[in-house]
Amino acid sequence: MPDIQKLEDIATQVRRDIVRMVHANNSGHPGGSLGCTEFFISLYFEIMKHDTNFNMDAINEDLFFLSNGHISPVWYSVLARSGYFPVSELSTFRKIDSRLQGHPATEEGLEGIRMASGSLGQGLSVAIGASHSKKINNDSHLVYTLHGDGELQEGQNWEAIMYAAANKVDNLIATVDYNKKQIDGSLENVLPMGSLKAKFEAFGWMVLEEKNGNDFQSVIDVLNKAKENTGNGKPIVILLHTEMGNGVDFMMGTHKWHGSAPNDEQLVNALSQNAETLGDY
């Protein structure tokens, strides 16, 4: 059984990292980062078999691709808190000469990152390629991805969704951060997408839906359920309902914090809501 209290303690620290990183540059994407904190911590601290002694080819370990690269703050924080690189390096986020680029990149050799992302809609195709590579190598480990819901407006996703089902890519678990918001407003206002569940099912995927995407036990349970269903001839997607800005009350319930940084006063407020548990960077 996972130690939920331990994960909650990591989460308040990761949230502190996120708002401090974004505040320090007056740029970055706190909303989606905060909303996916529980997902990332579950993946890296409970679900995936992975080695912090980084190897690009990831033989005999699970893999993760972040397709919606703009939520890099949460990924960087969780990678550092997992031991991939020094926590102190989080202070370089978005600064010149940093390995922590605004959107994830491989060029600077940051441990834990295997693909550049930021221009949306490309991650699922890449993950399918990595899934093929694992099968050719007789490596039974899994490939995980995360995608924004608004990101599914990019057409390449649907090429990949069609392909993965047709080719039985069943060592792949995709998760959609289903917060129903994007930069210009709600999905409903920008481009209504209808039922994602019906769309994925029509394309031949197994769909798991989790309404409590900010509850550790629920996130871990749905990821474990997905793992149990791999190898059955179908790719799996988790529609993970999350709250953009989760854990910082004034950032919740709005799309306003998708790509905006808190000011000094708002930072103090956000930090007061999240205890320093592992030591700030």
Binding site: T106, A130, H132, S133, K134, A160
Partner: protein, 309 residues
């Protein structure tokens, strides 16, 4: 006479036997790309992605994680223009070991017309940091290049074509990325050609020789990285230049050589290339004539370059 795409197919067949890490992907053009042998012989290493080129490039990028060496195959237009951002982010910026293999480049695609005749691909690809750009001249050279790029670590764009053309490169000639091939030595003018225009340059050399003009013919099969030394050494001797390519003047081989010469040895230079226009339907060789990409234009350009010394 044989098509360069068959050279690619033969090279891929060879790689299938010799390199177990080579995998191939195709976007519904197995026959056109001559990938049938590889697909039949290695079904576990071949991926038919359908008419979905963006997905193909992404899958190829992902396959490199785990040590595979992916070769993607489709027409040049769909290999570049259609998927530029996918190549830029998931292949070039991410530094992935993907070989983008592009057939039916240029006007000689022929009757399908301008929608399919990319004349911009060399420019697009050479602008990407870290991308190697190769445009071999005939079957033997295309086959050799296909085999060699599997051993090069990093992204490569390999451009070839549809029509049957003379096959004059010795079948045992070693292909070296970034190393120009001297075909004729001369003293009056340097003619740098790439792809299908290399044969036209050789034809032009004979015509010029009959008029008492000594032309040096150099096959620039690798546009990036450019063989600066071969170009500068030749130009130091001849003091004027012609470039020839089946591509837009903007962004092509001539553009790369002009940049080099303007920095190192400003030199009179003429460019045989497509002049800021789209192509059209027609038989390949008729199109080459209409758009001025034959030995005739190379001869004229050589005389003009010499007159400007």
């Amino acid at each position: 006479m044989i098509d360069t795409r068959s050279g690619f197919g033969a090279g891929l067949t060879e790689l299938g036997k010799t390199n177990p890490n080579v995998v191939a992907l195709c976007a519904d053009l197995i026959g056109s790309l001559k990938m049938g042998d590889f697909a039949k012989n290695h079904p576990e290493r071949f991926f038919q992605v359908g008419v979905a080129e963006a997905n193909m490039i992404g899958i190829a990028a992902g396959l490199t994680i785990g040590g595979k060496i992916p070769f993607t195959g489709t027409f040049a237009n769909f290999s570049t223009c259609r998927v530029y951002d996918q190549i830029r982010q998931s292949v070039a910026y991410a530094g992935k070991n993907v070989k983008i293999c592009a057939s039916h480049a240029g006007l000689t695609l022929g009757e399908d017309g301008a929608t399919h005749q990319t004349l911009e691909d060399i420019g697009l690809m050479k602008m990407l940091p870290g991308m190697v750009v190769i445009n071999p001249c005939d079957y033997n050279q295309t086959k050799a290049a296909t085999i060699v790029i599997a051993d090069y670590e990093g992204p490569v764009y390999l451009r070839f074509g549809r029509p049957s053309v003379p096959n004059f490169t010795p079948s045992d000639q070693k292909f070296e990325i970034g190393k120009a091939v001297h075909l004729e030595r001369g003293t009056d003018v340097s003619i740098f050609a790439t792809g299908h225009l290399v044969w036209e340059a050789l034809e032009a050399q004979k015509e010029l020789a009959s008029e008492g003009i000594s032309a040096e013919i150099i096959n620039i099969h690798t546009i990036k990285p450019l063989d600066n030394n071969a170009i500068l050494n030749s130009v130091r001797k001849t003091k004027c230049v012609v470039t020839a390519e089946e591509h837009q003047r903007n962004g092509g081989l001539g553009d790369s050589i002009a940049q080099l010469l303007s920095r190192e040895i400003p030199t009179p230079m003429e460019m045989v290339a497509v002049d800021d226009t789209f192509g059209e339907s027609g038989p390949p060789m008729k199109l080459m004539e209409k758009y001025g990409l034959t030995s005739k234009e190379i001869v004229e350009a050589a005389k003009k370059a010499i007159s400007r010394k």
